[in-house]
């Protein structure tokens, strides 16, 4: 099925003045479309965690968001260092965030598990040296 419309966003590396803007924009659109508030919140949280990971760990990247009648699909991709051990990265508490990032409040090692908890579907693809792709699907109905 074709999407009703799509949005693309650039996610600049290490620029916290705009980090989260893609998620914020999608949240606004979903609210305008009249999507159920709890679904908007889960979508925003899942997308924000993936977006901020691209900012912090992935040297920045891109977001592609496709809106369908019954669902939204979100792809956050980067060409950063990738993830060596996905299972380990998924564990709550595991984080490689450096001190300057932790000082801002990131680095609890909970972002990926937040995505898993909030997304209806979540696929994490990553290859060391190539980059990371986070696929999130949210059902709207």
């Amino acid at each position: 099925m074709n999407s009703l419309f799509r949005k693309e966003y650039e996610i600049p590396a290490n620029d916290f003045s705009v980090a989260g803007e893609a998620s914020s924009s999608v949240r606004k659109l979903l609210n305008q479309l009249g999507v159920d508030p709890p679904i908007v919140k889960r979508t925003s949280i899942a997308m924000y965690e993936a977006e901020i990971n691209a900012v912090i760990h992935g040297n920045g990247g891109k977001a592609l968001v496709q809106f369908f009648e019954d669902k939204v699909t979100i792809l956050i991709s980067d060409e950063g260092p990738g993830i060596e051990d996905i299972e380990l990265a998924m564990q709550e508490g595991y984080s490689t965030a450096p001190d300057r990032i932790r000082e801002m409040g990131f680095g609890a090692g909970m972002g990926l598990s937040n995505i898993k908890k909030n997304a209806d579907e979540f696929v994490l693809e990553s290859e060391p040296g190539k980059g990371t792709r986070v696929h999130i699907t949210m059902y709207l109905l």
């Binding site: 508030p37 924000y48 409040g105 609890a108």
Partner: protein, 115 residues
């Protein structure tokens, strides 16, 4: 209780979006300085207390539908954070009190509803 009532009763300073505080209802308190934990823990309408004053707290408060952010112990707030808060409609409140004292005051003044 609204953000305005709570701030006025306790002499706290509202440093962004003050004009919206009059009808922003507070429902409960959440205290946490780990942002991705706050992402889970801040429920709609919560007053969120954090010692962080960097720009990222605005996205967290916005995406979680917090009623406001309260910065304890008179920690100065970066000007770019205040600017972002204005942009996103987030109310920032500065308090001289500790996180503990702020939440106890809310508990007592809101009639002891621990939710």
């Amino acid at each position: 209780m609204t953000v305005l009532e709570f701030s006025q009763q306790n002499g706290y300073t509202i440093i962004s979006c003050a004009e919206t505080a009059v009808d922003r209802e507070i429902s409960g308190v959440y205290i946490c300085d780990l942002l991705s934990m706050a992402m889970v823990g801040v429920k709609d309408g919560n007053l969120w207390i954090t010692v962080h004053t960097n720009i990222n707290i605005i996205a967290v408060a916005s995406l979680t539908n917090a009623s406001c952010i309260v910065i304890p112990e008179d920690i100065p707030v970066e000007s770019q954070t205040v600017k972002k808060a204005e942009e996103k409609g987030i109310i920032l409140v500065q308090s001289p009190h500790t996180s503990y004292e702020i939440s106890v005051r809310y508990y007592v003044q809101s009639g002891g509803d621990p939710s």
